[in-house]
């Protein structure tokens, strides 16, 4: 084994093991509160270090498969590194570090209980995320996908109230239901016709199925990945908002939902292959469903008075952008889709952080109660405004790049209607995101704000960092673009 692939092996196993070890340490030290917080942040730091070391290995190590063990039917649990996976791993582990600090501040300020269980499950979820990011075949992907669902369930049900349990039940039910009911069938089907489950450049399904069945298989995959929250399987996302805000922030802006769209991207590129998809137009129905989801979810978001629920529907809509970019299956749209995976993550996590900061400081959750709050909590609302503009997609903020490529992708695929729909959706973004910021700053405080000030430092600091990141990424994104050019689509 060459030296490079050996160090790759070590890095990949480390990125799986670091969070697991962190979880075990937290379990062992459950009684010492300060210590588990330290371990929690330390684990996130280590993980980020490992991820960076993988990025630094560059393009030499792409698509080198590393086998852990052989599972069934001689299908191994195997990992590899490729640009999409590295991007996802970077986004997840980078934002995890910020979230750990935020989570500690939030959980302490709101006097939440069972902290050890909470931090432990958080770590385990990150291990699952890393497994998804580096998976080299569909079975490995499926295993870690299920582990992610299972490890996040306790986080969603964390409060233990009836509402929390009901939300967690919907969460588990839809995610497990779609993955076992559709995704597993799709994987088994793929295995029975091709005899391989490996992700390989250009796809494995060329000339294997008639067009109609290929369309069905693609639909099974896309709907089977319930984490991508394509309508009508989106209900789990608003339901899971009962979780404490750090969970919503990391898991429902970054790890879980992005795991969903990442799986869609990966399956589009490496299982079907973009040429197969476009030449058989197996992607057509999904394109329309994604477009519909994008617009409908925006419309629903308009109606939500609960801030977290509004953000949840906004997430559904933004995820549909990414799915849309993936299933349009042109070089540009895939690029836009992958970039949006990163930019939306940074923007949306900021918005969730803000929602959590407002709740921590005021215990308010309804948008209509937040008039004038911007004057009392200037940092939070400034960060909110920056992130909202980034998500809308205006320069000089990161979101503008990904929107640009997505619209360009729709045009390059000769689908002008989709490009128009993207623009309409942008308008809707403005309508449901901006009033909160405008009312916060412009309107007079409604009263009853006595004694309210900004949330604690460890809550406000992370959201300022991510808001800053929205700005910085605008200038750094060309580097990410260059990195993604290494993505081998054909």
């Amino acid at each position: 084994m060459s030296e490079i692939s050996q160090s790759l092996q070590i890095s990949i196993f480390a990125s799986l093991l670091v969070p697991v070890v962190g979880a075990l340490l937290i379990f062992a030290c459950a009684r010492f509160r300060g210590l588990i917080e330290l371990i929690f942040v330390g684990t996130a730091l280590c993980l980020l270090g490992v991820t960076i070391s993988i990025v630094n290995m560059g393009a030499d190590v792409f698509h080198q498969s590393i086998t852990l063990l052989t599972l069934i039917d001689s299908i191994p649990i195997a990992f590899h590194v490729e640009p999409l996976g590295v991007l996802y791993a970077c986004v997840a582990s980078g934002l995890w570090l910020v979230t750990t600090i935020y989570a500690i501040g939030y959980m302490n300020a709101n006097k939440e209980k069972h902290l050890a269980r909470f931090y432990m499950c958080f770590c385990l979820a990150m291990a699952a995320v890393m497994g998804i990011a580096y998976s080299a075949n569909l079975l490995t992907l499926f295993i870690f996908y299920e582990l992610l669902t299972l490890s996040t369930y306790p986080l969603v049900a964390h409060k233990g109230t009836d509402v929390a349990k009901a939300g967690a039940r919907v969460y588990l039910g839809i995610l497990m239901g779609t993955s076992i009911g559709f995704l597993l069938i799709a994987i088994l089907w793929t295995w029975s016709i091709t005899g391989t489950l490996d992700f390989s450049v250009g796809g494995i399904l060329e000339n294997e199925l008639p067009d109609g069945l290929l369309m069905l298989l693609f639909a099974l995959y896309v709907f089977g990945i319930g984490k991508a929250a394509l309508m009508p399987f989106h209900r789990w996302l608003p339901a899971a908002m009962v979780a404490p805000t750090p969970v919503s922030a990391l898991l429902h802006a970054v790890a879980v939902v992005k795991a969903g769209v990442f799986c869609v991207l990966k399956i589009t590129v490496y299982v079907f292959g973009i040429d197969v998809l476009t030449s058989t137009s197996a992607n057509s129905p999904i394109i329309w469903i994604a477009t519909a989801t994008m617009l409908l979810a925006s419309l629903v978001a308009l109606q939500q008075d609960n801030l977290k629920a509004r953000l949840a529907y906004s997430t559904i809509s933004q995820l549909a952008y990414i799915v849309l970019g993936a299933v349009l299956a042109t070089t540009t749209s895939i690029m836009g889709s992958s970039l949006h995976l990163a930019t939306h993550a940074v923007g949306k996590i900021t918005l969730f952080f803000c929602a959590g900061a407002i709740y921590t400081a005021t215990k308010k959750t309804l948008v209509s109660d937040m008039h004038g709050l911007g004057r009392i909590m200037p940092f939070t609302f400034a960060a909110y405004t920056i992130a909202a503009i980034s998500i809308i997609g205006l320069p000089p903020l990161a979101g503008s790049w990904s929107k640009w490529f997505l619209i360009d992708g729709a045009i390059s695929a000769d689908r002008l209607i989709i490009a128009v729909a993207l623009l309409v959706s942008t308008l809707l973004n403005i309508i449901y995101l901006m009033p909160i910021a405008i009312n916060g700053f412009m309107l007079k405080p409604a009263g009853g704000y006595h004694g309210i000030k900004e949330a604690p430092f460890s809550v406000v600091m992370p959201l300022c960092v991510t808001a800053g990141l929205c700005f910085v990424l605008f200038f750094l994104l060309p580097y990410v673009y260059d990195f993604l050019l290494l993505l081998n689509l054909r």
Binding site: L69, L139, L147, A168, L172, I180, S192
Partner: protein
């Protein structure tokens, strides 16, 4: 030299040990003795397994009377496989059982209980080891009668009715099997299974052979609790002492399934059973109904033991479904699931035993907050439950993988969807329990409760780790099942 006698020793050692056990005084001795015997049986079964693997099927003639006149013991690959399964589960169960028996059964009956347990073990091992059809009936009765007695020892009066119900249904089943054997004997003049196999081919158009086939089918399906002949099972499992539930759930129905393979593949042969008499046409709908109906019923059970019993009915449905597909892949999937399910259900009922030993109830409402006070037990239950659902990295996933692939091979799309849909139902019933354990405040009754007895807990985890192990490295059951299926199909 003694190794040549292992086929008979496998059965005779527990048989002789049983009456000896009843003579032992009131103390820990009966437990120790029974455990020792079961471990010896386990060791023998492993060495038999190794012998069969290296030299092929073993034949042993009792008293050196040559077959087909004398009684012949015949152990082939699937036989050895099931022997290992039964004896391993018996030895783990017995090892952890001391405190359970002390809690649940009157101390004057302890030695008798272990006697009955050993007899039941003898019966189950005998059914598998013997190559003689009448011997099968004898051992079937030995195991059944002793299990009626054990079920009746449950501390609830309902155990008596449960035992009585099982007695009636079980006796009908055994009688039907006996009638089947009798009919075959009248037609062929032989009781040796291998001999029967040859002779039946000459007379496979005879009405009486068809009638024998019918009697066997109903009799065996009664014993393995296939819908609609399942009614005895939930009550028996729910009210029996917890040791008995663990043992019976993991082994008794599995031995009935073994008998099904034996009778329909070895004696009658695949051609006769599936192409001439179309057994698949009966098994397929019944299995599907069993799977769907029992999964739904399980969701609404207030008691976890009964919930698991209904889930067992569904899992048996998966096993017979594999057979009903009439393909080699289906048969392999069926054998794999037989093996995996034994350990999964064993582990889950072991968890119930742990909970019973401290909380004294397995009703769902009384398990609130159990995850706090008994973390290891509840963690074991979670893993067992995930295996039952078929989550990857557990043995349940391996079973499901092979079963669905076998179904897809036949192009039964709708069936694959039903199978996966029913796994979702199992998510629901398992999650009701997990939610209760972890996300409820503990009841007043739960305060100050300790973790289950260490030995019992260790045995529980032994089973749990087994399911995890075979979920990660499934090569042993898969190789065994493939080879066994080849042998059963005469390839």
């Amino acid at each position: 030299m003694i190794a040549t006698h292992y086929p008979i020793l496998q059965v005779v050692i527990p048989l002789i040990a049983a009456p000896l056990c009843s003579l032992l005084p009131k103390s820990r001795l009966p437990w120790l003795f029974a455990t020792l015997v079961s471990w010896i049986a386990f060791a023998i079964s492993i060495s038999l397994m190794l012998q069969v693997k290296s030299t092929g099927a073993l034949s042993y003639e009792l008293g050196s009377w040559p077959a087909p006149w004398g009684i012949q013991y015949h152990i082939d690959l699937i036989g050895a496989f099931v022997l290992v399964l039964i004896s391993s589960i018996a030895s783990i169960t017995l090892l952890g059982s001391r405190q359970l028996v002390e809690n649940e059964i009157d101390s004057s009956k302890h030695s008798l209980f272990y006697t009955a347990f050993l007899l039941c073990l003898t019966g189950l091992l005998g059914i598998v080891a013997t190559g003689d059809a009448f011997n099968v009936f004898v051992f079937l009765e030995i195991s059944s009668l002793s299990s009626y007695a054990m079920i009746a020892m449950g501390d609830n009066r309902k155990a008596l009715t449960a035992s009585y119900e099982y007695l009636i249904m079980g006796t009908i089943g055994a009688t039907f099997i006996l009638i089947g054997i009798g009919l075959l004997y009248m037609q062929t003049g032989t009781l040796n299974m291998l001999d029967l196999k040859v002779r039946i081919h000459e007379i496979d158009g005879f009405r009486s052979v068809h009638a024998a086939f019918a009697f066997f089918t109903v009799g065996i399906c009664l014993k393995l609790a296939l819908f609609p002949l399942h009614h005895w099972l939930p009550n028996a499992y729910a009210h029996a002492p917890s040791v008995v539930t663990i043992f019976l759930a993991a082994t008794a129905t599995k031995v009935a399934l073994y008998l099904l393979y034996r009778v329909f593949y070895t004696i009658f042969g695949f051609e006769f059973s599936f192409n001439l008499l179309h057994l698949g046409y009966i098994l397929l709908p019944l299995s599907i109904i069993a799977i769907v109906m029992s999964s739904f019923t399980a969701i609404f059970q207030p008691g976890v033991k009964r919930l698991l019993a209904y889930s067992s009915l569904g899992q048996i449905g998966y096993i017979t479904l594999g057979i009903a597909l009439e393909t080699k892949a289906g048969l392999i999937a069926s054998i794999i699931h037989l093996f995996n399910h034994a350990f999964i259900k064993g582990a889950l009922f072991m968890c119930m035993a742990c909970l019973l030993s401290r909380i004294h109830s397995t009703r769902l409402v009384n398990l609130a907050g159990a995850g706090r006070v008994m973390p290891w037990t509840c963690a074991a239950f979670v893993i067992g439950g995930l295996a039952l659902i078929g989550v990857p990295l557990t043995s349940g996933f391996v079973s499901k993988w092979y079963l669905v692939l076998a179904i897809l091979e036949k192009d039964y799309w709708w069936l694959a969807i039903i199978v996966l849909f029913t796994s979702l139902l199992s998510v629901i019933y398992i999650w009701r329990v997990i939610e209760q354990m972890y996300f409820r405040e503990p009841n007043e009754g739960c305060v100050g409760i300790k973790e289950a007895p260490p030995l019992l807990l260790a045995c529980t985890w032994a089973m749990v780790l087994t399911t995890l192990y075979f979920g990660i490295d499934s090569s042993y059951p898969v190789e065994m099942a493939t080879a066994a299926a080849q042998a059963l199909l005469n390839e």
